[in-house]
Homo-oligomer: 146 residues x 2
Amino acid sequence: MKLSTKTRYGTRVLIELALKVNQGAISVSKISSNQKISVKYLEQILRTLRQAGVVKSVRGPKGGHLLAKDPSKIYLGQIVRLFEGQTDLVSCVSSPENCAMAAECLVRDAWQDATSILYKKLDNISIASLIKNSDKDYQGAACISS
Amino acid sequence: MKLSTKTRYGTRVLIELALKVNQGAISVSKISSNQKISVKYLEQILRTLRQAGVVKSVRGPKGGHLLAKDPSKIYLGQIVRLFEGQTDLVSCVSSPENCAMAAECLVRDAWQDATSILYKKLDNISIASLIKNSDKDYQGAACISS
DNA sequence: AACTATGTATATTAAATTAGTATGATAATT
DNA sequence: AATTATCATACTAATTTAATATACATAGTT
């Protein structure tokens, strides 16, 4: 039931980029040291974000990463979906074909309701809303568990 | 993000017991064959349910398991909490002491809100409500994924 | 009282998933 | 052309989850 580290790290990375939205591209090495995430692991996370169109990357010297969208248009729901392999509480919610009895299953609807309520909430929390009340010195870093 | 098999199996077991609430104690071997869960694994699940006061057990020949509470008083939220090791989306929600920066963390409140919304929903779904519209022949069995 | 069908508990193994590392390649700026 | 950085895949390690095995306890039946 817990979120993967990729989801948590990915969120932290986006917060750092959002806080530094006026500083141009931020290099992997800088994010790595700020967030205490290894360069190689971070590259995987950034690639996922880039392929989803959330982050854009600039190569070469002075290159790095920056947000591809306004922070108010990036929602936790999208981040969670990107990084969590299975986004439903149980697999039959999105793949009823996996279960011969999905149609008459007594629990499936309940899990589905719970799942959709969770994502409805997550889809309503933007990166912008998270950083709204923060001071610019804080880099979104160093929290071990989120 | 997905629920463990113990949570899913546990729910199915409770549904079967709720549907057979007038048939006295149901033996592990019967539940095992109905739900296609190995006897030994099922025993672990039943022990958890028993220790939580959800199920009661009768020893000896003709023994078995039955609900210890009315199905309308057993909620999915309780079942999930019983079987999922970590019930929060991120560990700092319930254990802020794990993270030195929990207080000023920009994301923690958001994960906490999402977690509480999810459980608010699960705490509102009873076993009784799940079986309300079912016919008595269905034993809540055979669904692979839930 | 012995027998046997049942539940109880703990320890161990196996499988799957997640987390992280290593290697190598490609692209862009200076 | 050299340098600095991102991109992509393969591999390894650690953790968690799932399941099995072994041993014991209890209650009813004969």
